[in-house]
């Protein structure tokens, strides 16, 4: 039995640099279906919207819709206890989307290349967040 405990404790001590890290890991909130849904929706919406970048009118509407969704995700994640990592990911995704509606609200035209890259980066960031949340304890 001592060997089993040793087998579990040694990688644990090596894995956790600090007691604080172990503490944060222990109190990590379990899988949250709503949070996960936000990441899936942001990923799917950005994948779909990237294909509409040639149409400036639709893209202007899309910009508001995706920024609103990212804002919702951030507002939801930020108030949950011990949820620092997900809240930080949501904040960064929101930061990527925040300039989209601002740019479409200006008088100068928005290039399709900018629109495609923007949605591509939102897709990648949301996919990363989704993958990490998918591995959380059920």
């Amino acid at each position: 039995m001592r060997r089993i405990l040793l087998f579990l404790f040694v990688p644990l001590l090596v894995g956790c640099g600090t007691v604080q890290q172990a503490w944060e890991s222990y109190w990590l909130p379990p899988f949250d279906n709503r949070e996960y849904t936000y990441a899936v929706e942001l990923r799917t919406m950005s994948e779909f919207m990237a294909g509409q970048c040639q149409d400036a009118k639709i893209s202007a509407e899309n910009a508001t819709v995706i920024h609103r969704k990212a804002q919702e995700f951030h507002n939801y994640a930020r108030e949950l206890q011990n949820n620092r990592d997900v809240a930080a990911m949501a904040a960064s995704i929101k930061e990527i989307t925040v300039t989209l509606p601002e740019r479409y609200a200006r008088s100068e035209p928005v290039s399709p290349a900018y629109c495609r890259s923007k949605y591509s980066l939102i897709t990648l960031a949301s996919t990363g967040a989704q993958q990490a949340m998918a591995r959380k304890k059920r």
């Binding site: 890259s117 993958q131 591995r135």
Partner: protein
């Protein structure tokens, strides 16, 4: 798992650089996208940290269950 996303972000950076060279992006658009590249990388780094914490949590749970079983 996050390596594939980091590679895709690098590929997107190269695409942005090609668009800058081809004149497909204005200066302000290019600057904004380069800032977004950093933000996407930050999300990936945080996602990696969250994955590690999840692994540590599983190990802690197993250890505590074992200790309680022995006690």
């Amino acid at each position: 798992m996050m390596d594939a996303i980091l590679l895709a972000i690098e590929a997107e950076l190269q695409q942005i650089q090609r668009d800058i060279a081809a004149g497909n992006l204005s200066k302000s658009e290019a600057e904004e996208l380069l800032r977004d590249i950093d933000l996407a990388k930050t999300v990936t780094t945080t996602a990696e940290a969250l994955e590690k914490k999840t692994q540590v949590q599983a190990l802690l749970d197993a250890t505590i269950t074992m200790v309680l079983a022995v006690a």
